[in-house]
């Protein structure tokens, strides 16, 4: 093993049933143990980055599954890879590394398939404290899933069967004799690193190891020894006896999300997480995995120490599976859409950084965010148009809270009045906040996200004014149109880094923006009247910012490009594409103020 990538790693051999397993330990052995089990065609090196992070707090154990990496292979191979034997191996490792206390198991791909067996058979009871599963269903659950769909087929169920059937093409291939071995030991083994890099965006590093062709050839027996028998006769008692955290990569090309629809029936304590990533998440999203695994293990460890059953304290807001534990930064968070967005993310269990130039408002948002479910929330006072202040903020956030997973560039100001009456200073002011604020945010935090290389999402609040011209809002509309185009360009650029970019175009929403909007060419009294009048009109429209916040979360989950929110914004967007001349005609009308 490339131990040089794992400082402090200690290697040992564990013998079981004629097999010699290569086991590596990291971190303080007096701490609770997390055992990471790799998949196919992998070896324990797939976990390097996750293990390194977890080792800061936990006793982390990795081992090469029999026939993989530096563990020996059974002789003969046929019949040597059954789930029963793999369970023996697991128990031998656990007895060696943590004889006195149960361990937290984490499995990816075939590691997870095995670990489902560990978590559902009686002989491991008391040896496992929790199980985190990713990209690997229980074969028994899968068998029942198929049976239910075959016995009572509806169009939807047939669709699900066919969909998963197509995704499982490699399983049939692996059942053919000799050919897979030849392919892996030949061209496929050589090309595999490049295939992973291209299709899965797995960054190059210490993985895959040179043992790949052997690992893959031996591992074919995992399928041959178990899949047919278990799918044909799935166990009826495959109920999990430990709390389970299910992490579902939404872009997994081998497994459909529907496989886990009925999992609640098998798992009494189930926490669901979803991750916008492909199959090899231990390599492409190590930070997120380490954070979720650590958090879940800690919650169950605490409960185990206290002797009380685990109480489900996971967030209940919309999309909690997606945003729980993530870091979200929202600008303009002291009120309106920004504040509502911060609250919506908080309810989903995200950690929130509320940024605003109004310090009191921002700290209020952070305080309430904590009260409604954010594990942590901080307030930062920054004027988004101030480049240096934004740079300092980006440095501080990265150093103290971590790399932002979702950035919401929401801060904006209003400016109304005809073009000829708008002064250069007013133009500068509105562009500084509405456009430069977004540019600074995207530039600084976007770069951090891109450098980390583990995905992310940027949301820019544009406006329906971005595609609806108006004689009353030339400066505001210009700034927002620029934000819209900036977002679309950035989306194209950051796609290859798995960073999504969405532009939100809310429309007329009942927020405080009207009470602070500048009216070019109006004296103080007239401006006050206009503000009051506009606020009243917006109040009568009464579209709540909470609905915009919901749209923002949805846009991130679905990675939508341009999101009109209110019906009028939808209508304007539709007309702008169908018949822009109509919008130009509307633009000439004087607003009813």
């Amino acid at each position: 093993m490339s131990l040089q990538n794992l400082p402090g790693a200690r290697e040992r051999r564990v013998s079981t049933g004629g097999i010699d397993l290569c086991v590596v330990e990291l971190g303080d052995a007096t701490q609770p143990t997390i055992v990471l089990v790799h998949g196919y065609p992998d070896s324990k090196e797939v976990w390097t980055q996750v293990a390194r992070q977890l080792a800061e707090q936990w006793h982390v154990v990795l081992y090469d599954v029999r026939g993989h990496g530096r563990s020996t292979a059974p002789v003969p191979l046929r019949g040597g890879f059954t789930l029963e034997k793999l369970t023996d191996d697991f128990l031998a490792v656990v007895d060696a590394v943590s004889p006195d206390r149960p361990v937290h198991v984490v499995g990816h791909d075939w590691g997870s398939v095995q670990a489902w067996e560990f978590a559902t058979v009686s002989r491991t009871e008391g040896r496992i404290a929790s199980f985190t599963s990713m990209s690997g269903p229980s074969l028994d659950h899968f068998g029942h899933w198929i049976k239910r769909r075959m016995s009572r087929p509806t169009p939807r169920r047939v669709g699900q069967l066919l969909g998963q059937g197509a995704k499982s093409w490699y399983v049939y291939m692996l059942h053919t004799p000799v050919l897979p071995e030849l392919a892996w030991r030949g061209p496929l083994g050589k090309q595999w690193p490049r295939i992973l890099e291209r299709l899965e965006k797995v960054p190059p590093g210490d993985y895959p190891t040179p043992s790949l062709p052997n690992d893959a050839a031996h591992g074919a027996w995992l399928y041959r020894d178990n899949v047919r028998s278990r799918l044909r006769r799935p166990r009826a008692d495959a109920f999990a006896h430990v709390p389970v955290q299910l992490i579902t990569p939404t872009g997994d090309i081998f497994l459909s999300e529907q496989l886990y629809d009925e999992l609640d029936a098998w798992v009494p304590q189930l926490t669901r997480r979803s991750l916008p990533a492909k199959h090899w998440v231990p390599r492409t999203r190590p930070d997120q995995l380490a954070s979720w695994i650590g958090e879940f293990a800690a919650a169950n460890e605490e409960a185990a120490q206290g002797g009380v059953p685990v109480r489900d304290t996971s967030p209940t807001g919309a999309h909690a599976d997606r945003f729980g534990g993530q870091l979200v930064l929202v600008t303009g968070a002291a009120g309106g859409i920004g504040r509502a967005t911060a609250f919506a993310f908080a309810e989903a269990g995200a950690r929130v950084v509320a940024v605003d130039r109004d310090a009191e408002g921002a700290s209020r948002t952070a305080e309430l965010a904590r009260l409604i479910g954010a594990p942590a929330a901080w307030a930062e006072t920054v004027d988004v148009s101030d480049e240096q202040a934004m740079e300092k903020l980006a440095e501080k956030v990265a150093a103290e809270y971590g790399i932002v997973d979702v950035l919401v560039n929401n801060a904006g100001i209003g400016l109304s009045g005809s073009f000829l009456e708008t002064t250069a200073e007013e133009w500068k002011n509105v562009l500084d906040v509405n456009l430069w604020g977004v540019i600074h945010g995207c530039r600084l935090f976007g770069k951090q996200m891109a450098d980390r290389g583990q995905g992310g999402h940027i949301v820019n609040t544009a406006s329906a004014a971005a595609y609806q011209p108006s004689r009353a809002l030339p400066a505001y509309s210009t700034s927002k149109a620029a934000v819209l185009m900036l977002s679309e360009c950035l989306r194209a650029e950051l796609a290859e880094k798995s960073i999504g970019v969405s532009a939100i175009c809310p429309g007329i929403v009942n927020t405080n923006i009207t009470a602070t909007t500048r009216f070019a060419g109006a004296d103080a009294a007239e401006e006050k009247r206009l503000r009051r009048r506009t606020s009243k009109l917006y109040g009568m429209r009464n579209y709540p910012p909470e609905k915009v916040a919901d749209a923002i979360l949805r846009a991130v989950v679905r990675n939508e490009a341009v999101v009109p929110v209110t019906p009028e914004s939808h209508a304007a967007r539709f007309v702008s594409r169908l018949s822009p001349g109509v919008l130009r005609g509307i633009a000439r009308l004087k607003p009813p103020l």
């Binding site: 609250f343 408002g361 209020r364 309430l368």
Partner: protein, 283 residues
């Protein structure tokens, strides 16, 4: 200090204070008996029976109880939704008890917010109501138009991060006038409101319409007048994502020129006021 104005109205105020205390005592007694599984209907019945046993025969309105997200009036569109339902109380759930008994011809209308067990968010909302009580009194003493005070209260709620849930009340009122009610042997209720009290409000409305004021304190033009002397049951109601909290108590407005005497809360010895005082001591 007993003031001239207080002196003049003392017997009356004493009667209102008595019924308001009775109502709050009822709220505290019922709140102490609430357990997981109790329904809103049962809680409302407990209030009604408690007050009946102590001589209440007439109502401004029958007791209400709201549990869970109903304390924030989530999705309230029609007045029927105010009536108690079969929603059951669960641990950690906020609740509001609201009752308006008439006792010896004096009316009170109170609101009591509580929570079954720990709920830090609910505590925060309750604590944040204190500034509203101060703001309302200060601006009434300044004789600001009621509509403006309403807008200031709403602005403060939004600044605090909350929604103004008394917008969901009939006419969006934050307060309404209360008065003495004639004692009758038979005092029926219509849609939960006592007919005697309704008569009083209607006569106030007609009277006020002629003189340019309204017995309802709302965000609309008909409340665009300085505070009218009399007793007002004031009920600022905060809502925040499925959690609501309010208080309701009587504000006395007089025609005195002395600012302190021109308006004052009828009683400062009430559960929410005591709670704020205790919080200050602990802090």
């Amino acid at each position: 200090m007993v003031s001239r104005v207080k002196d003049e109205r003392a017997p009356d105020l004493q009667g209102f204070r008595e019924v308001q205390r009775l109502a709050y005592a009822c709220a505290e007694a019922v709140a102490a008996r609430l357990k997981p599984g109790v329904t809103e209907r049962e809680a409302a019945r407990m209030q009604r029976e408690w007050l009946r046993e102590r001589g209440v025969r007439d109502w401004f309105h029958l007791p209400f109880a709201w549990f869970g997200d109903r304390t924030a009036f989530t999705g309230f569109k029609v007045p029927l939704q105010f009536f108690p339902t079969n929603r059951r109380l669960e641990p950690g759930m906020p609740f509001i008890l609201d009752m308006a008994p008439v006792y010896k011809g004096f009316t009170a209308d109170i609101g009591y917010s509580g929570c079954l067990g720990l709920n830090p968010l609910h505590d925060r909302l309750l604590a944040d109501l204190e500034v509203h009580r101060e703001l309302i009194l200060r601006e009434v003493r300044e004789r600001r138009p009621l509509r403006e005070i309403y807008e200031d209260v709403e602005r403060l709620m939004i600044q605090q991060g909350y929604a103004n849930r008394h917008r969901a009340y009939p006419f969006g009122v934050i307060a309404h006038k209360v008065d003495r009610v004639a004692e009758r042997h038979w005092s029926p209720t219509v849609f939960g409101f006592g007919t005697q009290s309704l008569k009083g409000i209607l006569s106030d409305a007609v009277h006020g319409h002629r003189e340019g004021w309204s017995p309802l304190w709302s965000p609309y033009r008909f409340s665009d007048h300085p505070p009218q002397p009399g007793l007002w049951a004031v009920e600022p109601h905060l809502g925040f994502r499925g959690t609501g909290a309010k208080f309701e108590e009587i504000l006395v407005v007089t025609d005195s020129r002395d600012p302190e005497q021109s308006a004052f809360w009828l009683d400062d010895d009430l559960p929410h006021v005591r709670r704020w005082a205790e919080e200050r001591v602990t802090a």
